[in-house]
């Protein structure tokens, strides 16, 4: 098997959401569903002293993430029908919509907010790594869309060369699912274990 992985360059990403919207157009997704989302992490304070002058230790950084096509996916483990499955050739995790009963366990189990039940379609939906594009020698639509060239996709061996595995906040410990997501962190990025680094744009990503 050739396991594929995403790469995210946190030093380049500016949080513009072109990745997210290109995916929504290509996959024809409507309001309420996004396969890739952009999280804003902001912490610190900007204060004004009595003399009217500012001090700041504010830190803010974006994280663009879709499905991490984990080695040990929690979504496939909890799926009661086997609809959620990991491809033997590419390691990409996707939903067999004919088997899915829309129970939403995958949505609840995934620590990366990837699968969601599309109630209009009646089954779970998520990033499939643009498997058909991959087969045609292309990269996922989000990767080829990025104006800042902050995303990449390739074999896990390639992606590992310039990134560490899912190591920044607000991501959970990588040991849970062994995600295929490699990151070059920005100066601002906090380690995955830092509980103070929270997502501040829940409305945009839930």
């Amino acid at each position: 098997m050739t396991q594929y992985a995403f790469h995210f360059d946190g030093t380049r990403c500016t949080g513009c959401k072109t990745c997210e919207m290109s995916c929504k157009d290509y996959k024809d997704l409507s309001v309420g569903i996004a396969y890739r989302k952009v999280y804003e992490v902001t912490l610190g304070e900007t204060k004004k002293a009595d003399d009217g002058t500012f001090t700041t230790d504010c830190v803010s950084y974006p994280l663009s993430m879709a499905c991490n096509h984990c080695d040990d996916p929690s979504c496939t483990k909890v799926c009661p029908t086997g609809a959620m499955h990991k491809d033997a050739e590419t390691g990409l995790v996707s939903v067999d919509k004919d088997k899915c009963i829309g129970c939403g366990y995958c949505h609840m189990a995934c620590p990366y907010n990837a699968p969601k039940v599309d109630r209009a379609k009646g089954h779970s939906v998520k990033c499939d790594g643009c498997a058909e594009r991959l087969a045609a020698g292309q990269k996922p639509v989000c990767v080829e869309a990025c104006p800042a060239r902050a995303l990449d996709f390739g074999t896990v061996e390639e992606m590992k060369k310039t990134g560490d595995q899912a190591n920044i906040a607000p991501l959970p410990e990588k040991t849970y699912t062994n995600p295929n997501f490699y990151i070059k962190p920005s100066k601002d990025a906090k380690p995955a274990s830092d509980a103070s680094a929270k997502v501040v744009n829940p409305l945009e990503v839930m």
């Binding site: 030093t11 380049r12 990403c13 500016t14 949080g15 513009c16 959401k17 072109t18 997210e20 919207m21 290109s22 929504k24 157009d25 290509y26 024809d28 409507s30 309001v31 309420g32 996004a34 989302k37 952009v38 804003e40 902001t42 912490l43 610190g44 304070e45 900007t46 204060k47 004004k48 003399d51 009217g52 002058t53 500012f54 700041t56 504010c58 803010s60 950084y61 974006p62 919509k97 004919d98 009646g122 089954h123 020698g137 292309q138 990269k139 639509v141 990767v143 080829e144 869309a145 990025c146 104006p147 800042a148 060239r149 920005s186 100066k187 601002d188 501040v200 829940p202 409305l203 945009e204």
Partner: protein, 804 residues
């Protein structure tokens, strides 16, 4: 062929008798028995094709769009990209908005037919009519206004929804029928455009390219967010990310917000109070002068008005130099020490001193400004001050420097549809047209900056608003604009042309349905560090009764008997080709038109551009187009041009009755020094990811992930009981808007930041007592123009915020 693998869900989704019949009887057999041997055309598999097009909205990105089309419908929108592209490879990748075009072009709100207004102006009630009736009405009303009031009563308001080489056909038409009232300046750059020629001359108004920042050691960005203002993959978003990765320079972004360009690199943020850049520069100048760190050779060789020695003869001995202003020996006689600037700017005296020291000791220094600092009541002087800073240390015209203007843009040059000559020379600032509707005949040169005439000859009576939302939404004081426009006795007729009914369109008397540029032949040249040209063919046939603006203007011309003069016998595509071929004669490196169509996107590399390089090398041989041929830090011409101007309180420094001829700090009308008990906070706008100005402002998928928010610091939110995500009202004397609170340390205390361009959504009958639930900042901005440019000071506001 039809899919024979029928799933349970597909079956359930199949509705109607034919579907059930096909499923039960076997699809081919059933279809055969009903319709004959051939598969009906509607069911035949059609090939997907791709066409190139370009974004045409008011963003210099104008990125490439690659439309995937099947059955004359766009299935998805790709861009100029490839799987193996490296970081350095130029690809004009569309931003999130470009990738959402399908939602706009297929929107149920798309205008399909000509319409006439059947309700009150602004009410938005329309009825479908024929093209003949629409054009007859618009043309006969135009004839009537011209006969009664003259061509000076006809106006084409600032409107930027469509850009291409042939995107201005209405100006050409109007010039053939006697012309129209001109305008100068624009809503993006009014103040900096007005001031820059005084300092750098008519041709010196551009900075170095962003790529030149790669050669710098220190980069100061005043009020700039290259990623948010131009988001595409071969415009400043990409250029910024690319330059930052390549440069060894330390970067500071001086801004009231930690804007998106600093995300991930938050140490770059130097927070400042809005509207106070000139005060910061004055205090930095004070330190440089005091410590003997100014480049006196440069200032004495290349500049006028820095100190007494370089003042123009007529102004010597009066303590009118910039140095006199800074050191407190002239003007307001206040020494501009860091302690003076600290409470104004919000930057501590200690930090101003350390920054001055960095500026003095780190070379090359690259100073650049966005257009935020200038879109203010004191914007002309803010922009001028930022330009003066690199001059103080001689960091102009050398590799790795810039001149303090906005970064340069490179682009191949393409000719545009000739507009002809406007017989009318009278001109107003683009921002004061609402006044010209109300009392144009009272407006003159010395009070309203009217040009080429002492007084306007007529109030504005007829307007053609093509692809513009500047009548209300993107103008200022929406409630006041509504009052003026809704009175049909004032501006008697408005012809509106667009793809959807934005708020401004609701004032049209006749509405015409436009095509996107990618639904017709189109070409555009643009660029930033890289230059590029995009050549598009129609993605689909025109749907419903939509027509191109060129066709509409031709029809208007026909009613005036000037159609042949207008078209010169050419279709729009023929014009595009002819204009391109002419451009190619001057630039033979450009490929043929056919090749351009085939490749879609043509890119061209440019070297790092350095502003004023030739002037620096040889100031006598390559003088600037200023009266002295030098950089003018004191402008005698500005004083002369504005002699006798009627000023309003706050337009100039306290105690002066003329505008200052140096880049002084003028406190804003509504700013850090003039908040009130009732309105204790400043309110400033910014560009948002999900829109360019108001374009795309109605697309649900974009609104969902780019909610309209008021950025407010926890220090201001907490005492008001406001929590992150609460619905709040931002209000001042001009109105109220309702939106969500983004409680964040990314904005300085004392300032609320609201992204500009959200679609106004309220009840116009209630006027300023009503609530704009769209959250358009222009419900709260003023129509008072800035002192010199008579431009829009839309970031200069005070307000308060409460929970809704």
């Amino acid at each position: 062929m039809l899919d024979t693998k029928l799933s349970r869900r597909t079956f359930l989704k199949t509705t109607g008798a034919l579907g059930a019949l096909a499923a039960a009887g076997g699809s081919v057999a059933a279809a055969d028995s009903l319709f004959g041997a051939d598969v009906p055309a509607a069911l035949a598999e059609t090939e997907e094709t791709t066409t190139w097009g370009h974004c045409a909205i008011n963003c210099p990105g104008r990125c490439a769009l690659k439309f995937h089309v099947k059955d004359d419908e766009v299935t998805w929108v790709d861009t100029h990209t490839s799987p193996d592209a490296g970081f350095d490879d130029p690809q004009a990748r569309a931003c999130l908005r470009g990738r959402s075009y399908r939602r706009w072009m297929n929107s149920p709100d798309r205008i399909n037919y000509p319409m006439k207004r059947v309700g009150a102006r602004g009410e938005g009630k329309y009825e479908r009519i024929s093209w003949d009736e629409a054009i007859d009405t618009a043309a006969s009303k135009l004839k009537e206004v011209i006969e009664k009031h003259g061509n000076e009563a006809v106006y084409v308001p600032y409107a930027t929804g469509v850009s291409a080489t042939t995107a201005r056909p209405f100006n050409r038409f109007l010039n053939l029928v006697g012309g129209f009232l001109n305008r100068y300046g624009d809503y993006s750059t009014a103040q900096i455009t007005a001031i820059t020629p005084y300092m750098y001359g008519a041709k010196g108004g551009s900075g170095s390219s962003l790529s030149s920042g790669e050669d710098a050691k220190l980069i100061l960005c005043f009020g700039s967010s290259p990623t948010e203002t131009r988001q595409g993959g071969l415009t400043t978003h990409y250029d910024w990310v690319h330059m930052r990765e390549r440069t060894p320079a330390k970067i500071y972004i001086i801004d009231p917000r930690l804007n998106d360009s600093a995300m991930g690199h938050s140490e770059e943020w130097l927070p400042i109070n809005p509207g106070t850049d000139a005060a910061l520069v004055a205090a930095l100048g004070h330190e440089l002068i005091k410590n003997g760190q100014t480049d006196e050779d440069f200032l004495h060789t290349y500049c006028v008005g820095y100190d007494e020695e370089t003042m123009p003869e007529a102004h010597k001995g009066k303590n009118l130099s910039y140095k006199d202003y800074i050191m407190g020996t002239g003007y307001d006689k206040v020494e501009k020490t860091p302690e003076w600037a600290a409470p104004i700017t919000g930057i501590s005296a200690e930090r101003i001193r350390s920054l001055a020291d960095e500026i003095a000791t780190t070379k090359p220094l690259y100073v650049v400004q966005g257009w935020g600092p200038q879109r203010r009541s004191n914007g002309e002087w803010a922009a001028w001050s930022i330009m003066a800073l690199p001059c103080l240390v001689g960091q102009v015209g050398l590799p790795g420097t810039s001149n303090g203007c906005r970064e340069a843009r490179n682009s191949p040059t393409l000719q545009s549809l000739p507009a002809g000559t406007n017989p009318i020379k009278d001109s107003i600032s683009c921002f004061v047209w609402t006044d010209a509707i109300e009392h144009g005949e009272d407006m003159g040169a010395k009070d309203w900056g009217v040009r080429n005439t002492d007084k306007l000859k007529s109030n504005i009576k007829y307007m053609i608003n093509y692809a513009g939302n500047c009548l209300t939404n993107q103008h200022s004081d929406i409630n006041k604009a509504h009052e003026i426009l809704s009175d049909e006795s004032k501006c008697e007729f408005i012809l509106g042309i667009d793809t959807v009914m934005c708020d401004s369109m609701n004032y049209s008397d006749i509405v015409l349905p436009d095509l996107f540029r990618f639904e017709q032949h189109s070409q555009i040249a643009t660029g930033s560090d890289w230059g590029y040209v995009i050549t598009g063919t129609p993605a689909t046939t025109p749907k419903f009764e939509r027509k191109s603006a060129y066709e509409m203007a031709s029809m208007m011309a026909e009613r005036f008997g000037v159609k042949d003069k207008f078209t010169e016998g050419k279709t729009e595509e023929q014009w595009i080709r002819e204009l391109y071929d002419k451009s190619r004669e001057k630039d033979p490196k450009l490929p043929s038109y056919e090749e351009m169509q085939e490749m879609g996107v043509y890119t061209r590399a440019y070297p790092h551009t350095v502003a004023l390089q030739k002037f620096r090398e040889d100031p006598a041989g390559n003088p600037l187009v200023t009266p002295s041929g030098k950089i003018e830090i004191f402008s005698e011409k500005l004083l002369k041009d504005t002699e006798g101007w009627k000023l309003t309180e706050g337009d100039t420094l306290a105690g002066m009755d003329t505008l200052p001829g140096i880049p002084a700090y003028i406190p804003e009308w509504e700013g850090v020094e003039s908040t009130t008990k009732e309105h204790p906070l400043m309110l400033s706008g910014f560009h948002y990811r999900g829109r360019i100005h108001s374009s795309w402002g109605f697309i649900p998928e974009l609104k969902e992930v780019n909610p309209q928010e008021a950025w407010i610091n926890p220090a201001d939110a907490e005492p008001r009981g406001i929590k992150h995500g609460d619905k709040v009202q931002v209000h001042n004397d001009r109105g109220k808007i309702e939106l969500l609170a983004k409680v964040t340390p990314r904005v300085v205390p004392g300032t609320v930041a609201v992204s500009q361009g959200a679609w106004w959504d309220g009840d116009k009958k209630s006027g300023k007592d009503g609530v704009d639930k769209g959250g358009s900042i222009n419900t709260l901005t003023t129509q008072r123009p800035s002192p010199l440019a008579k431009g829009n000071p839309q970031h200069t506001n005070i307000c308060d915020v409460k929970r809704a």
